[in-house]
Amino acid sequence: MDKKQRILIVDDEKIVRESLFHWFEEENYFVDTAEDGEIALKKYSKEKFDLLLVDMKMPGMSGLDLLSKIKAIDKDALIILFTAFSSVPTAIAALKNGAYDYITKPVDPDELAHLVKNALEKRALKMENVQLKENISEIIRPDNLIGESFQIRKIYELVNSVSRTDTTVMIRGESGTGKELIAKAIHINSNRKYSPIITVNCGALAESLLESELFGHEKGSFTGAQFKRKGKFEMADGGTIFLDEIGSISLRMQIELLRVIETKQFNRVGGNELIKSDFRVITATNEPLEELVKAGKFREDLYYRLNVFTIVISPLRERRDDIPLLVDFFINKFSSAMNKKNKSISKEALDFLINYDWPGNVRELENAIERAMVVGKQDTIIVDDLPFHVSKNNFDLMKDEKSLAAMEKKYIQKILNENSWNISKTAQILEIDRVTLYNKISKYGLRKDEY
């Protein structure tokens, strides 16, 4: 990007306009400002801006009104909204109306830098694609893989780039994080999309069954094989095969698998005919494969063959920013599925969801929302509607501790870990200042790697 990117800051507070103006100018952007929506509209219709930063709350025309008016002129306009913490739900609604993202004021400069850079890069990439008239549609986002956190955006970038290739992909992450959704997203965005994606859960089948499942079998090849049956590799011809829980297959099957992946040829169980199939391999695991390799339980050559391109999905507790969006998404999903009118969620209940550790990840969250919508009696989901362990989570932590100090130590450690040791954020949650937090960290000798 050699041309200076043009940014318009729209905020009624002079002091905010000025400090952002200087910050962006230093960052080498061309910056202009507007103190209200009217002026912003006038400026926008006269000259093009690459990005607008708009305060949500302004006298006269609100940020949301401005958003829709700008979008009416230019549907591709890139808009980031500034918001107060209290109006995050409105900001989420704004995303549906085409805002690129929102950010709370005062803004973490680091976060702002990443956000703006990513937004502009994504836009540049999009325009490049349009210019090349390549028919690469924007990445299709699979359901449930909602998120605007840095981690999720990074994953979308990876999915986007790897989809266009035929590379073997390994997806890693705890169960319930949505590994299968990523595999599907890669498939759907690849040029294999008109052929099927075939999923095999390697952990769910005994070795003998897995073999016939993967390679198929001839009639009468074993007891119970009454008909000839196509295997998954054969069915995946032209498409993608997704092998979930790859870490659980036996050493003998690993040899078979390596051979098939390398030659793209195999025999059905009990058959002599050599079957050819053209498939792409995507695997997933939540196991530490490297350790299995060291322990001799997983073949090193297969490991390298499968681990060409790795996508790691963070557990939900490490990207809590995504929780409100996911909650919103699931509420909408179940509202229409259950034919209930749109429910909302109380702030207190949402706080519980944000603070809970989600060992079962997105899947557990989805179940919790579904349950809450079934049992809830009101239009708003309240804490009482949540599963007991979710809403009581914060107290469970404390149950073995007697002394106040021990409890405090454990609690601070927990909040630090949950926020990846982001001191400012942790201090904010604990409602103490950073110096106090720092003092407590040294008093209790807390360490980053301790859990």
Binding site: D108, P109, I441
Partner: protein, 177 residues
Amino acid sequence: MEIFLAPLKFYSNVLLERLVKELSNRFSSKIHVIDLKVNLDDFFSVDRRQYYSTQIIAEVIKLTDEYDGKVILLTDVDIFVPALTFVFGEAQLNGKHSILSVCRLHEEFYSGISDENLLLERTVKEALHELGHNFGLRHCIDWDCVMHSSNGVEEVDIKGNTYCRKCRTVIGDYKYY
């Protein structure tokens, strides 16, 4: 051209001494430590529990006519500008004044573990960075250049600790380092 370091609520004499030495190695100009009479508490925001850097610079401008050169204000307190949660520093582009807070350059701010050498390295980088702005430099895209922008401490650590060739030509009295 001379460089004046003005510590204000800056608690580490060791760090100050080491910074003076580092800067002396890099500049042929004289490095002085000066004592300015500024009450930082006038710029403390009770809401934010931080100090408003733009206003501090505005105040310091009034007090530094007698110093012919660049004036860097050093402080341990956390500073901010209204739209942002914090800044490491602020400088007048093509001007005489800058402010640098080491509050968030301390490793213990993040991990709870202090690391004096890392602190010095970060402080030197950010002092050179703010000085660069005083000399009219904008942010540089070269990651090896100290004028690369850093909005987080990771970026301070990643970037280089000296000016790139292009930026160096703008800095007066800078020794080839």
